[in-house]
């Protein structure tokens, strides 16, 4: 049994658990063994607490024996990006600044997982404070793409995507501010979603850019993403932007099979800069949908060209404000030598932050500074309105949009680190969803000749998660891309 465990989806494991054919302790042990075997090479985890994970598994098995299993996730491991608070566990955001910090409370999503019996485990690597697109900005370690260890896993949730792709965990949570779940999912050949802004509470998610941040699930099948989304979504009074709206059963709530779907292909997402193999794979996926009865038409999102600039003003402005809390006083890194209280801030922040975080704080401070606010920040917020309108206009004509997730497949380590702007431009297809607040799903839609995964993005209406999951499932059933495994 234990050989086959790590290759199973969460839903398959749930069935085996319910039938008494495997225990949660066996499942947890199999994933810990796998992680021990492959993670020196993959580097998805910063750390994990083996005893704590096994204790949770034992408790789950006891519940089940006494007839009190808590639902489909009871006994299933969910690994956690190092940006979410898990009581009693380290919370570092892969930074030097928060090295040694221990969470005094659980994030809302972690509370939800615990209520449903899931095993909350591990600290997954990421770009420092979620700022980056390759996980190369981690202050802790390098993470490799399981499909090619010389390449990056994407970012910032690189550990989340790599751990799921490498069969170290069936499920993981990440966070997505500009594509940080979807882009690594596409690079690592797994399924990842950024839900509608407000669908999931941000309580206990370390803030990067508060009007854009959203927690997102990562898994090896669309149904597993649906399961994890349903488990963590819902209203929470501790996040004033969390929306009070019923959480449907995303796994079983598909629209009627005879629904006539209308899909849009935004022409601006297939222009200069797209890798020909990526374009060809997404084109084939689009053909699949029209062949299977969907009405596919070209649409326009005319303000797409401004999305990257708009994003890097708004995200850095919010980051400069959010990261002001790291001052070396109440928690986080404190410089050993400081002349006075103010110098303590300067030195602690100089020592505790990495280059990309400093760069973004400085840019964000600049665009908010006196004399520049109107020209940069306020203007970006207005362009954000136009970008959002583009999407909402498109959704009057179509149910969902089909795009590539990233213009390129996984690139080599070090290939883009010297030019921040070039790295930012990688996010061009994903940041629109964050600016507009709409949900986006990335699913594998092919491989390059060199064997690297290619991801397709399905964007939906606000709170249209069910629709895009259903479309993802239709594609997944017709293909075997989520069945392939990297050679590790």
């Amino acid at each position: 049994m234990s050989d086959g465990i790590i290759d199973k989806t969460a839903i398959e494991l749930g069935t085996l658990l319910a039938d008494g054919r495997v225990s949660s302790v066996e499942i947890m042990r199999a994933h810990i063994d796998r992680t021990r075997t492959v993670d020196d090479a993959v580097g998805a985890f910063i750390s994990f607490d083996e005893q704590d994970a096994l204790n949770q598994a034992t408790a789950s098995d006891e519940r089940r024996r006494s007839g009190g299993a808590l639902g489909p996730l009871d006994g299933i491991p969910v690994a956690i990006k190092d940006v979410l608070a898990v009581r009693g566990q380290p919370l570092g955001c892969a930074s030097k600044m928060l090295k040694g910090f221990v969470s005094p409370y659980d994030a809302h999503v972690v509370e939800r997982l615990r209520q449903q019996g899931a095993i909350v485990w591990g600290r997954l690597n990421m770009d420092e404070f979620a700022m980056g697109s390759s996980t190369e900005n981690s202050a802790m370690r390098a993470t490799s793409n399981p499909w090619d260890l010389e390449r990056v896993p994407g970012g910032s949730s690189g550990g989340s995507a790599a751990s799921v792709a490498a069969l170290e965990t069936p499920l993981a949570l990440g966070s997505d501010t500009g594509g940080s779940v979807r882009q690594p999912a596409s690079f690592c050949g797994v399924v990842g979603m950024k839900p509608t802004y407000g669908r999931i509470s941000r309580y206990g998610l370390v803030a990067f850019a508060s009007s854009l941040d959203q927690v997102g699930p990562v898994a090896r099948s669309v149904d597993d993403v649906a399961l994890l989304l349903g488990a963590v979504a819902g209203h929470d009074g501790r996040d004033s932007t969390s929306v009070e709206q019923v959480v449907p059963d995303y796994v079983h709530g598909d629209p009627p099979a005879d629904r006539k779907w209308k899909l849009g292909v935004p022409r601006e997402y297939f222009g200069a800069g797209i890798d020909p193999e990526v374009k060809a794979a997404v084109d084939r996926a689009i053909e699949f949908y029209s062949r299977t009865g969907c009405e596919v038409s070209e649409v326009s999102l005319p303000n797409t060209e401004y999305a990257v600039a708009t994003y890097y003003i708004i995200a850095t402005a919010e980051a400069s404000s959010n990261l002001a809390r790291y001052d070396g006083v109440r928690y986080g890194h404190r410089a050993a030598k400081a002349e006075d209280g103010v110098d303590l801030y300067f030195q602690s922040r100089a020592e505790g932050f990495g280059a990309e975080v400093k760069r973004r704080i400085i840019l964000g401070t600049y665009v908010l500074s006196s004399g520049y606010y109107d020209a940069y920040y306020l203007r970006a917020q207005k362009v954000r309105t136009l970008i959002r309108r583009d999407f909402l206009n498109a959704f009057e004509k179509v149910d969902a949009l089909l795009t590539p997730t990233s213009p390129v497949p996984a690139f080599r380590r070090g290939e883009r680190t010297s030019d921040p702007l070039e790295m930012y431009l990688c996010d061009i297809y994903t940041i629109g969803a964050n600016l507009a607040g709409i949900p986006g799903l990335s699913i594998p839609c092919g491989f390059t000749e060199g064997g690297l995964p290619i991801g397709m993005q399905i964007l939906g209406r606000p709170f249209g998660e069910q629709e895009i999951l259903s479309l993802g499932k239709q594609f997944e059933i017709g293909h075997e891309f989520t069945e392939r495994r990297p050679d590790l």
């Binding site: 009074g237 004033s240 401004y306 207005k382």
Partner: protein
């Protein structure tokens, strides 16, 4: 580089309370000016009469009952402090 995208790195780093090394100062200046140059394209967008978006789904003010609820204990609250004494955060002397 460009005349219109200039960033006074010392002024901004001071506002951000980050001490920069000489090397960081020159590297960041160059990189940030390149990024600002890119961002300048927003100036060509016609935003007359467009309302700014701060949050995508505007929610009205959220209220809760003002009642005592459990929170962190003092011990938990200072548990991650770089330096603490007698239930307080210790900082360098701020008043002579």
């Amino acid at each position: 580089m460009s005349t219109h995208a200039h960033i006074d790195i010392d002024y901004v780093a001071n506002l951000a309370r980050i001490a920069l090394s000489d090397q960081e100062r020159s590297l960041f200046s160059e990189q940030l000016e390149e990024i600002l140059e890119y961002i300048e394209q927003l100036k060509s967008v016609d935003v007359d009469g467009v309302e700014p978006t701060a949050h995508t789904f505007p929610v009205t003010n959220v209220w809760r009952e003002d009642v005592v609820r459990p929170g962190l204990t003092q011990e938990e609250a200072i548990g991650n402090a770089p330096e603490a004494r007698d239930g307080m955060f210790v900082v360098p002397k701020v008043v002579e």
